[in-house]
């Protein structure tokens, strides 16, 4: 009897992946009838987002309307849509976890647990135990610098180095009022060092852009020399031949785990579900890695030149801290930096 039981279990186990794949095939068929999908995304650069979208289209033949903006702008768009009772966005991918807390509380999401959720790196699972939103991208905010202007030994090693007077007029950052990455970073700095960190940073007259990826431009152009930037976009730009490098701060790179969710009342429910599956697939992870994001699937290795996540010291505020804290720091930032 026991043997029969184990055999049965073995059969089930053997058949399980096939069953899972058959489900996805059915989903793909239903999704194809819906024809297209609209994706509000802040996680990557335009290029990265477009790449991912194209990957999905190539796999399943469904058009993806990639609406890439910074996190706060994406949120603003979404709120406007909701206020006007329009469901335009099917999948919402923002880098500010606080958005998800609020939207979930308002019942704006459709619950869906992707099949592939079980296959991703354990550290990124279960961001929302209720299953309304899931981590689909991860990245770091680190110190970055222009290698043509700054030698590795001179580069800042920890966050407080940015406050050093020798970097006056040479620092670049994004703006928390736009970027979720920057918002989370600001919150973390405030948590670690208090708001004086920024009062001192202000004295160094940083160039403030909007997206965290603005730092890449500023450094590339030689306009600034050091920055609080995203490792992904920085390394991607460096791989193209630009004089950039990442310096992992000894006091902890800020880890951003950015979720995605399906909007309730979406006009393309199957396509949305399929897309969530896709975001957890190996193909998506490969594209991610190409853009120097942290791949979520263990099968896909970290891109060359980037330190594997296990070797980097990271800090990360809690979800409640982010949810409450980012709106606060945006106001504080405006008061301190004048805008």
């Amino acid at each position: 009897m026991k043997r029969l039981g184990s055999l049965a279990v073995l059969c089930v186990l053997a058949l399980a992946p096939v069953a899972a794949r058959a489900d996805i095939a059915k989903l793909a068929e239903d999704a194809k009838k819906e024809g297209e999908l609209t994706w509000y995304i802040a996680h990557y650069t335009s290029e990265g987002a477009e790449d991912l979208g194209r990957g999905f289209t190539e796999m399943y033949g469904i058009k993806v309307n990639v609406v890439r903006t910074t996190a706060q702008v994406a949120y603003q768009r979404l709120l406007q849509d909701l206020k006007n009772n329009q469901t335009i966005c099917d999948v919402f991918s923002s880098t500010d976890v606080g958005h998800y807390v609020r939207l979930k509380a308002q019942g704006r999401f459709d619950k869906y647990l992707p099949e592939n959720a079980a296959k991703i790196v354990p550290a990124f699972r279960n961001v929302d135990p209720d299953g309304f939103y899931h981590a689909t991208s991860a990245g770091l905010v680190t110190l970055t610098y222009n290698t043509a202007k700054v030698k590795p030994e001179e580069a800042p090693k920890k966050w407080e180095d940015l406050l050093d007077i020798k970097w006056k007029g040479k620092v670049s950052t994004g703006h928390p009022g736009f970027s979720g990455y920057v918002g989370t970073w600001v919150l973390t700095m405030k948590k670690l060092y208090g708001w004086q960190y920024f009062e001192k940073l202000e004295k160094n007259k940083p160039q403030i852009g909007r997206s965290i990826n603005d730092t890449v431009t500023a450094l590339n152009a030689g306009e600034r020399q050091v920055a609080a930037g995203a490792d992904g976009s920085t390394l991607f730009s460096a791989a193209r031949g630009n004089p950039l490098a990442v310096s992992y701060p000894t006091d902890g790179a800020v880890l951003i785990i950015a979720p995605s969710a399906i909007m309730k009342g979406t006009k393309h429910p199957n396509a949305a579900k399929l897309f969530m599956e896709y975001l957890y697939s190996v193909e998506a992870a490969k594209i991610n890695a190409k853009h120097f994001g942290i791949p979520l699937r263990p099968e896909v290795p970290a891109p060359p030149g980037a330190k594997p996540i296990s070797e980097v010291k990271t800090v990360r505020p809690t979800v409640e801290e982010i949810s409450k804290g980012i709106p606060e720091v945006i106001e504080q930032w405006r008061d301190t930096f004048g805008n």
Binding site: T38, Y40, T45, S46, E47, E50, N65, V66, V67, T69, T70, Q72, V73, Y75, Q76, R77, L79, Q80, D81, K83, N84, N85, Q86, I88, C89, G169, K170, H175, G177, F178, Q207, I208, G209, R210, S211, N213, D214, V216, T217, A218, N220, A221, G222, E223, R224, R240, G241, N242, R334, D335, F337, G338, N339
Partner: protein
């Protein structure tokens, strides 16, 4: 004048029904309804919304309290006013000497100068801003680099991310307005006025000082005011420059009110002073230009005698070329460099040349390519609607088909005093939510553009219709045709060229319109101007430059058509009120 009458129908005449009922009345009523929809409704909604509490709609003054409660918000307002004044003054400095040189002196190459002013005029201010970021970024800007190279200095003196920088950029791309106003005024000053001064003993300089310039002054002031109004209503260049420069202006602050959360009510309240300032200044401008009957009759038989500058004509030409360099040469050189570069910072190295940016924009970035198409489609639609609508209204007003036709004309011109941003907020408040639910649709953009450009269309149509003798249409009606027939077969054909001109005068600016689009676009209705602005967010200057150049290049055939049909300077002729 005896006319042989056709054979008379001897049957008794049927009694006439509702006197003079013409089926065209339905058309006229439709036009009036559309005007109310486009102009009056958003404005009313704007005002009403500013007094409404969010969600409940209850009357409240809280919005105004919030809008003006923070020092930062009031600072933004003051900054806008200062910026407007600075930009207008600088623009005047650029434009007036050029206009005088081109219109009244023997400065060499006036045609070239006019062409360069035209090139400036068709450059969107946000494209200019991007180019100037490339040129005058404090560390990496080209001008600074050259300076550092030339003098060995540590840092360059130019910083685009400053109040002065922004004022200069705005001035550079709005000075053509003053140029147009000034040349028009100078050309209107009858040569007999100057001859009279000459023969009484005044030489060319004294004549210019005491006769020409004072006569042109009201128009110059008018141009300065228009410049000021443009400057305070701009969104693109302040967003790109003021934010890193760490100061706020009204338009960027309004954008924040549309931020997170969306507070249309507060935005509406905040927009009111902008509207108020604009209305006030437009009234002042009218007052100035109407005084003392300053439009002088042009005399007969005068070859306009240009003022001979002698050696100074080359100095004047040099000045013209300096302004042209700042507005056209330098920016476009570096925009082109950037568009063809892999990384603009790397400069003119041969290995830095690539067509990737164009490829990406045209073929890989679906939204970018679509945005260009959207721009042209929406601009075309709104130009068409605006031209025909204003033709209808101008006709009704000129032929006095309804009482108070002047009010209709006023409505057509009223949008002139509403800054683009404010208009967009009004449209948003009025038509985005249900019942009409135009949120995120192409229609709301088209309607907003149409309204924005009604004044241009109306001024053109009104002048054109006034130039027609009504007897030509009366001849059609006497022979049995309806008014609509007269309109279709006599008026419209005669006005073909005018209509084309008006269409182009609306279409070309509409393709670049940013300040009203930024609040009204949806994910599938992005236009090129918004796309360019978004790209500047990621600092993607190479791709941005490619897109901006594509937009400019696509405009050239239209300009060519316009010039062929309407003369070389059809865009530089004064058409605004």
């Amino acid at each position: 004048m005896a006319i042989a009458a056709p054979a008379i129908d001897t049957a008794p005449p049927r009694p006439r029904r509702a006197a003079n009922f013409d089926s065209t009345w339905i058309l006229w009523i439709a036009i009036i309804a559309v005007l109310l929809f486009l102009v009056v409704s958003p404005f009313v909604y704007l005002v009403v919304t500013s007094f409404q509490a969010e969600d409940t709609g209850v009357f409240t003054l809280m919005n105004y309290a919030t809008a003006y409660g923070r020092a930062r918000y009031i600072d933004a307002l003051l900054n806008s006013l200062k910026l407007g004044a600075a930009a207008a003054a600088l623009a005047g400095l650029f434009a007036v000497p050029l206009a005088w040189a081109v219109a009244r002196t023997d400065m060499p190459a006036p045609g070239l100068t006019r062409m360069l002013v035209l090139a400036t005029f068709i450059t969107p201010p946000y494209t200019g801003a991007v180019a100037w970021i490339l040129l005058a970024g404090p560390n990496a800007g080209w001008l600074n680099r050259f300076y550092m190279l030339a003098t060995g200095a540590e840092a360059g003196p130019f910083n685009i991310y400053s109040f002065t920088g922004l004022a200069i950029v705005i001035a550079l791309y709005s000075f053509p307005y003053i140029f147009i106003f000034t040349t028009a005024a100078l050309e209107l000053v009858s040569s007999e006025m100057e001859d009279a001064a000459n023969i009484l003993g005044a030489g060319p300089w004294r004549t210019m000082r005491r006769v020409t310039l004072p006569l042109a002054l009201p128009a110059i002031l008018g141009g300065l005011i228009i410049c000021f109004l443009e400057a305070i209503a701009l969104f693109g260049s302040p967003a790109m420059i003021a934010i890193p420069a760490r100061f706020n202006v009204v338009t960027t602050q309004l954008f924040q009110f549309f931020g997170n959360p969306v507070r249309v009510e507060v935005a509406a309240a905040y927009a009111m002073p902008l509207l108020g300032v604009t209305v006030l200044l437009v009234l002042v401008q009218r007052l100035i230009t109407r005084r003392k009957g300053f439009v002088a009759l042009t005399g007969k038989g005068g070859e306009r005698r240009p003022i001979l500058l002698g050696r100074w004509r080359w100095a004047m030409f040099g000045y013209a070329m300096i302004v042209a360099s700042l507005a056209v040469f330098l920016p476009y050189i570096f925009l082109v460099q950037s568009a063809f570069a892999k990384a603009w910072g790397r400069g003119f190295a041969l290995d830095n040349v690539s067509l990737d940016n164009f490829r990406f924009v045209l073929f890989e970035h679906a939204t970018a390519a679509q945005s260009v198409i959207n721009s042209f489609l929406y601009a075309g639609a709104s130009a068409t609607i605006a031209v025909f609508l204003t033709l209808g209204v101008a006709y009704i007003a000129a032929r006095r088909l309804v009482p108070f036709g002047g009010v209709l004309g006023f409505l057509c011109v009223a949008p002139f005093v509403i800054p683009g941003v404010v208009l967009a907020i009004g449209f948003y408040a009025a038509y985005a939510p249900p019942t009409l639910a135009l949120y995120g649709t192409a229609l709301i953009l088209i309607l907003a553009f149409t309204t924005r450009f009604l004044p241009v269309g109306y001024v053109n149509a009104s002048a054109a219709i006034r130039s027609l003798n009504p007897e030509m249409e009366e001849a059609v009606r006497v022979l049995g045709g309806s008014r609509l027939t007269a309109l279709r077969r006599v008026v419209a054909p005669l006005l073909k060229r005018n209509l084309l001109g008006a269409w182009l005068l609306i279409f070309i600016p509409a393709t670049r319109e940013l300040s009203s689009a930024i609040f009204l676009y949806g994910p599938s209705t992005k236009v090129a101007s918004v796309m360019i602005f978004d790209m500047s967010e990621e600092g993607n200057f190479e791709r941005l430059a490619a897109l901006a150049l594509i937009l400019q290049v696509l405009t050239l055939p239209l300009l060519w058509i316009g010039q062929k049909a309407l003369g070389r300077d059809f865009m530089l002729r004064r058409n605004a009120t």
